[in-house]
Subunit: 363 residues, 4 copies
């Protein structure tokens, strides 16, 4: 009885609370486009996508794909499958650029002949190379969902105009889509809220594609000219998660075990497919969701070498305060993190029940 | 009897034939997208657009604009006004890229400090520079027509897919739009009928942007990376009108006088605004409309230097038969022309009454 | 009587005249160092050396050799043999640089993979390649003379200091020796009288090492960085014989026949070994010996592309009057010649009796 | 008397001892050419020279100078003065290259406009720039000794041929002299014993010329093309002291105080002129004199970027075992040191009495 009464009052109160909380949440939720070279299953690419999908703090406007770790056609299917597993088919997957602007498998091979062989070249890596139109069988199962009937670049442009000054572009792969969006519509950097990305390397002897040379970080190396376009655009804010901080993380068996205790589809998927690895993109996603994870960051002018020589695709940078050309803004570059806080968030997000797509679709 | 019967049948047959022939003619009209840095009024850019609009042999699917001789916003208005004057507002004008992929006014200035000042830099020429969003008053009057509410790159992609293997992409300016179309949709070169363009320079001491150095031809220099993307794409056919042949033409006072005898809006517009000049784009348009104008051409592997050094934007080329990388196709490069035939066609097209837009719009 | 008297007076007068004339001659004779990639036997390289040796107007201080058309060790023997045949062992042959500053056979092969195969690469040409220390048998016989026990670069520096403002450096090959001399002693350009060279290409579709691309002229392409050093040094005067004028010449069977009528060792050597060919270096030598041969020349700022990309080793140039960096002087570039006068001089020099080395050696 | 006897015995004994000691020493002593951009007074450049001069274990064949931290004319005087102060005028000072091969003050200024201002440019640093021929007053006094009447490059070539397989080339400055020696005589790397150098940077955020970018280390950046020539030459052994290890050292006030306790001319000179600083060249010298100072080193393929773009002059490297071109040898790169052992050696050498030049000059 009392229980009923209390219950009744409780239900009303709860409803009100939820409505208030809901609208507050809605107002506060960051609108994000997750641009990713979505190698699957699992991998740092898909895991960071799942973090966004599971987080109550963001509204993922869409997941846009781009060739990088794999070819974009294959990646798009992996992304779709991940969205299905997360129960978030309300979030569109939008296929993007199949090739980088200038870089190519052929150019990478000429480069290697002169300057030394790479250990990893994403979709171009010889030991698992296949042509862009080939899609090997998906271990995690084929998605039934379809990508949006629109190009990722058009989607990015459309969303940024629909929600001026509200959209965060978060990029976990090569920057081809974003560079194309800028060249199609120069207002994009001015109309977006901010750019957050995983890429680049500074002073670090791991994490790059050429072993000990961390400045040749994969995402940036894969499409250097795209990076150059993006890093000289008039964004209101650029935040970079470089390999220097990535390599301070590790997706250990212990973390996997903590996730395996959960029995959600996401947890089961990760338990089956996730591998021990540096947490490149997960950290970048986490630092966006909870900036308190970052304990050290610097403002630097950051760019990439687009000379087609020995340093093609290497990060270049100078300190804030150095006299540089006017169109070269500073970026906020993350160097230190609270590791425990990061791992805790990761496990928490990955073991939650799926977010329901309760809110009206905003696209 | 048999004869009569045959005759009757013949007449019917003839009618059918004519109808068929009519539709055959229609089927044969070349579908062209005219991609142009449409500096106006008049100029080689607008004059070549008018040739296409006046020609009975082509169906202009659209005029797409791109920054080059002027900024694209200004050019788009000049193109719209030209379309109005030609009475062809049935042909859409579609605005394209505002900036080249990598090249920039700033980079051109650094280059000049090291390697010598340019005589002409299109929209970046100091003596008539204004920012991209500024549109000076149009001497020929403001157009009332509006550009299509679509980006030139999307328009190109849409048209090429709508009419697979039928569309000629004719480019009289920097190749930014076409390169972006390729990077948005790698099937474009395979689905287009052919690419025809004005650009590049080989062995010629005039016609380039640096006086005696004809290999640094303006259209190509303005967006070298776009040229590189375009020249390595799998087109079925590439035809190039280089400055080597351009400089064998001249829009003289005599030609102007022959046009001035006509009293069409187009002739009046040209009489008022056209200036004596090399006929770069008019020749490229003419050679497409009547290949018989060309008396000498060669097959060459053609590309551009994208090193950001002394030769940035210079044409590079090797003879057909030279061992080159597989993805470097040959182009047909025009070197000799029948000048009289060309001038005759130009005067003829420019003095015709406006084509009526009698055919059902195909877009 | 009168005769005797006259004679006596005459003898005295003659002696005086001769002495005066001699000293006048001596004073007027140009001191030249002939720097050459002396491929032998005969060839444009050796033939130009012979012109200098046979000319009464120059004092050849030495012949310095440099790898280019062949490796320098082989060339040095060909040069020594030519000096012997011309009876001019009073002129020292001095061996120079074996390798260009930066360019290499390996780099040329990488370049070819990307940008197309070369037709000719001098000592690196695959069809007659041998290592630098190998010297194939000399068809014209082995020389008994020895090269000077000094490096060509030291010799150049020593001579220019010995005869300040008197020495013409004439270069018919890659500019490695001269660049090294400048970097060893920055005063060389200021202390030399002038620099005369065969190299570079402007607007011409023959004569280069890549078929139709005349701007990639062999001498300059072989050591681009040396050219860059040389063309930015403070010479009092630079004169260039480019391929644009070279290709207006031809060493025909007719010219050979005119030489064959002579029975000097030089004529016999040429009759046996000389081949029909463009007269690259002979023309440059001739124009130095008789400037009247040149009918058209221009002042241009000339340099070379040292970007290691598509245009590595291509001539770059801008018109005099263009705003360029201060340290980029103009060169006099020859474009037109009096062909008959040139051929006449060539035949005349090659059919003369050997000059006797009557003058005291000046080194 | 006794004195005489003792003296007599003493003289004999001493002579024997000296002969034995001398011959043992002579056999063991490393023959070194110290190639240095000898900024003075004191500085890391001069201090490392003094270490070699003071060490009983090496025979310094000569000190060759090269522009870098200062212009070579000024440096040569500082080096001569240091030699005088150390009482070692038996060691010749030989002046070398005034300019790097390709790099220049002008190029550095163009670079800075595009990619950001440098903090330090050696002889080209604006805040203390003067022309190469100007020599400001020497605070430590003018030397009376003169440099050898020979060019450093000739000297290096001559010594390496005189003592085949015995000479260590130790380079503490830009590699211009050594590169020129290689290009003058390709046998130098094969005939030298080894190459030891201070230069390059790998993964370090200090010590370079652009603040946080340690890969643009001064010595290497000043003449990148020289480094490229040197690093692709067939040395028997290359040892590199990079800034990564340099920055683990510091010439503190404490070390200065320990030296100040000594009253030798060298100690007095250092006490007066030496400044607290990273010990770049001292460490490289020390590690050569006592390899036990180094606690960690790696074998890497090391080179430099010679593209004239954003990374011009930056160290490039790949791990040993990577597939690289055949002509790219590995170098031994030092990363860790026993700091105390290093400081002890430094203080010990700098506080010793001057070595007497007791041995017959070997040049």
């Amino acid at each position: 009885m009392g229980k009923t009464r209390i219950g009744a009052a409780g239900i009303v109160g709860l409803t009100v609370t939820l409505l208030c909380f809901g609208s507050v949440l809605f107002a506060q939720r960051h609108k994000v486009i997750v641009d990713q070279d979505a190698r699957g299953p699992a991998t740092t690419d898909i895991q960071s996508i799942l973090m966004f999908l599971q987080s109550p703090d963001v509204e993922v406007l869409g997941i846009t794909t781009v060739t990088g770790d794999q070819w974009v056609k294959e990646e798009t299917l992996h992304a779709l499958r991940a969205v299905e597993i997360a129960g978030r088919t309300d979030v569109p997957v939008v296929m993007g650029a199949e090739y980088p602007l200038l870089n190519s498998k052929e150019e990478s091979e000429w480069w290697e002949e002169r300057f030394g062989q790479f250990g990893y070249k994403g979709a171009w890596t010889p030991r698992f190379y296949h042509p862009p139109e080939v899609v090997p069988e998906l271990p995690e199962g084929k998605p039934t969902a379809k990508p949006l009937n629109e190009h990722a670049v058009s989607f990015i442009i459309r969303m940024v105009h629909k929600y001026p000054h509200e959209v965060t572009l978060w990029a976990g792969g090569p920057l081809t889509n974003i560079a194309l969006a800028i060249r199609m519509d120069p207002e994009i950097p001015l109309l977006a809220k901010e750019l957050v990305l995983m890429g680049s390397g500074f002073n670090v002897g791991q994490g790059g594609i050429s072993g000990i040379n961390g400045r040749r970080e994969f995402n940036w190396w894969f499409d250097p000219e795209a990076v150059h376009i993006v890093m000289h655009a008039p964004w209101k804010k650029i935040t970079i998660t470089p390999v220097d901080i990535s390599i301070k993380t590790f997706l250990s068996d212990d973390i996997k075990a903590r996730i395996a205790r959960s029995d959600t589809p996401v947890a089961r998927y990760l338990t089956q497919f996730s591998r021990p690895s540096t947490m490149w993109d997960e950290l970048s996603a986490a630092a966006f969701l909870d900036p308190g994870i970052i304990t050290e960051q610097k403002e630097l002018h950051v760019d990439i070498d687009i000379s087609h020589g020995a340093s093609y695709g290497q990060t270049i940078f100078v300190e804030k305060g150095t006299k540089v050309p006017e169109d070269w803004p500073v970026s906020i570059v993350q160097f230190g993190l609270n590791t425990e806080r990061f791992y805790r968030m990761y496990v928490d997000l990955m073991t939650r029940p799926a977010r329901t797509a309760s809110l009206p679709a905003s696209r």
